[in-house]
């Protein structure tokens, strides 16, 4: 069935896209040529020199950086995503009954054990 629906498309059906592409290219070429022909040309030494902006770079870019932010971010994702499980559980709370409640308690218990672990491990302490 999947094959049947795809088979109704002919290469000719893509012709509008081709025309659009041609028009876009033609506009780019047209505007470049016209601005080159019509626009004024003034040269000076300063204007022709290569130009960089910003302050001069200092030192090497390859220095070790702290992974604290990464750790915090990944822990945030971990404890954030867990809420996704709660929504369908809350919607189906009545149908799931006591079993569902106990299972969610178990899940939250394991999650909080992990939370306790990272606090105890000192991962959330920014200073050290």
């Amino acid at each position: 069935m999947l094959l049947a629906t795809t088979a109704t498309y002919q290469p000719a059906d893509y012709l509008p896209i081709l025309i659009q592409l041609g028009l876009a290219l033609a506009f780019v070429a047209f505007s470049m040529v016209v601005s080159h022909l019509v626009g004024p040309k003034r040269h000076s030494k300063v204007k022709d020199s290569s130009f960089e902006c910003g302050i001069e770079s200092v030192g090497n870019a390859r220095t070790p950086i702290s992974v604290k932010y990464f750790l915090t971010a990944i822990l945030f994702v971990l404890f954030d995503v867990e809420v996704i499980f709660m929504y369908p559980w809350a919607v189906n709370f009545r149908e799931l009954g006591t079993t569902g409640f106990v299972e969610m308690l178990l899940f939250m218990g394991l999650l909080l054990a992990g939370f306790y672990y990272i606090i105890k491990k000192g991962i959330l302490k920014w200073q050290n």
Binding site: L3, L110, A113, Y117, K120
Partner: protein, 475 residues
């Protein structure tokens, strides 16, 4: 199911044990848990039922089944881990800061391994593969200050996650072709495909090939073996031992179950040539590659490639049913015990002499006769010399393959195991015939408990070689 729960909960509890000021409790606790899991698993094996009970006591709407197949292979993996961990005592002595985490990761990875042999649904298989692999990526890099270990972890992670993608793509295509993740239903759908829609067949074939690539990488079968020597060399020796036993057992047993249940019968015509080519290549590369090595860990890496090749023989001889299941079981048991013994000796030598090339073993027979003897028995078992477990492992594999008429393959495998004898004898020669280097001729420290485990490993290897019937009732 009890094994999974026990391992998960105690892995979690073990993390909190790590906050204790003294780390002495961690290793005994982990060993106790593993012994309990082994007891529960082995006592739960129903040796009287028929083999083909794949759907016995399903959990999670039939996604997991703890039939005899799952129980037996769980037993092999747990036993392997139990025998390997006593050799981690140096981490305890050194007061490693992340000791509890390493053991917990190991326990969690074992859960992944158990899922890989007890799955009844390809999603669970994938979950098991991931649980096992991600744990291994971390453990490969657990020696954080060692550049080799970092290299191993990065290589294993990059290539492993890439092939995981391929494996998942294969599972997706199989789902597309059959409309189910369930093994038994997939088997029915595969048999029904020619009648229903011949156009789905290529989709199924590509899916199966992609899965073959994914699993081939995990068990380091050629041509997906390139990571093995580098990763094995860089990974801390203890975890290398785990990698080459548990991961391999789980991969082969899991893939055998998939092929046996879902792709037996006529489909065999499709994947048999591919698998046979992989087998021949794996045996050749593993055995010939090992000859050129000067590092014992790299040699064992190539040796583990070649053993993956021997295990593939059982997959090729899948039609023989009980015979090939028994061959996988016996071989993985004998291979695991011998490999654990070899890595245990290497680990103890490395702890003191800080090297793991052949020359590091020089003179070991004089300084530590026990270690040299254990290593010798392990090497002989890996080579498949009679009176060791490895001999009957190979015997069962070859007879299963011969029964299915793959005589040429068996002859090739026999020739390759003759090549194997050459490189397995090199550590033995280093230990018995060469004197220790100046300054490193002090006896290697071996704890009392470790000695007992080493003796147990030798006893198990010899027992399996003298009386293979001791585990015959399993299948």
């Amino acid at each position: 199911m009890l094994s999974i729960i026990l391992l998960s909960v105690s892995g979690l509890a073990n993390l909190f044990l790590g906050f204790n000021r003294s780390n002495r409790l961690i290793l005994p606790f982990v060993l106790l848990v593993l012994a309990a899991v082994l007891g529960v698993t082995v006592s739960g094996i129903d040796t009287h039922g028929a083999l083909a009970v794949w759907n016995q006591s399903p959990y999670f709407t039939g996604m997991l089944t703890f039939d005899r197949y799952a129980q037996v292979f769980t037993g092999v993996m747990v036993l392997t881990t139990l025998l390997l961990l006593p050799f981690s005592q140096k981490y305890v002595r050194d007061g490693n800061a992340n000791l509890a985490e390493y053991y917990s990761i190991l326990l969690f990875s074992l859960v992944g391994g158990i899922m890989m042999v007890s799955y009844n649904n390809l999603l669970i298989f994938f979950l098991g593969v991931e649980t096992l692999s991600i744990a291994m990526y971390v453990l490969a890099g657990s020696d954080k200050s060692n550049l080799r270990s970092n290299e191993a972890a990065l290589k294993y992670f990059l290539m492993g996650s890439f092939t995981t993608g391929i494996l998942l793509f294969g599972i997706a295509l199989l789902y597309g072709a059959t409309g189910t993740f369930d093994l038994a239903q997939m088997g029915n759908a595969v048999r029904a495909i020619p009648a229903a829609d011949a156009g789905l067949r290529p989709m199924m074939h590509i899916g199966l090939l992609l899965m073959l690539i994914g699993v081939g990488f995990k068990i380091s079968a050629a041509p997906f073996h390139f990571w093995t020597p580098d990763v094995y060399e860089g990974t801390p020796t203890l975890f290398t031992g785990y990698m080459s036993t548990v991961v391999k057992t789980a991969g082969v047993a899991g893939f055998f179950k998939l092929l046996f249940v879902a792709f037996g019968g006529e489909t065999i015509e499709f994947w048999l040539p591919t698998l046979t080519a992989m087998l021949v290549l794996t045996l050749f590369i593993g055995n010939v590659g090992a000859v050129a090595q000067t590092n014992a860990k790299r040699m064992l890496a190539y040796s583990s490639i070649s053993h993956a090749g021997y295990l593939l023989l059982a997959l090729v001889a899948l039609q023989s049913g009980r015979l090939s299941v028994n061959a996988i079981f016996f071989y993985s048991l004998a291979y695991s015990v011998a490999t654990v013994a070899a890595f245990a000796v290497l680990k103890l030598v490395h702890d003191q002499r800080e090297r793991d090339d052949y020359d590091g073993l020089n003179g070991l027979a004089r300084t530590n006769p026990l270690l040299a003897f254990v290593m010798t028995v392990a090497m002989l078992s890996l080579a498949g010399i009679p009176l060791t477990g490895g001999f009957f492992g190979k015997f069962y594999l070859f007879s299963a393959a011969a029964q299915e008429g793959h005589i040429g393959l068996v002859i090739f495998a026999v020739v390759m195991s003759a090549v194997g004898i050459f490189y397995y004898l090199r550590p033995i020669m280093a230990m018995y015939m060469k004197p220790a280097a100046e300054g490193s001729d002090a006896p290697v420290f071996v704890g009392g408990f470790q000695s007992a485990v080493l003796v147990l490993l030798v006893a198990l290897t010899v027992l399996l070689g003298v009386w293979p019937g001791v585990v015959e009732g399993m299948f």
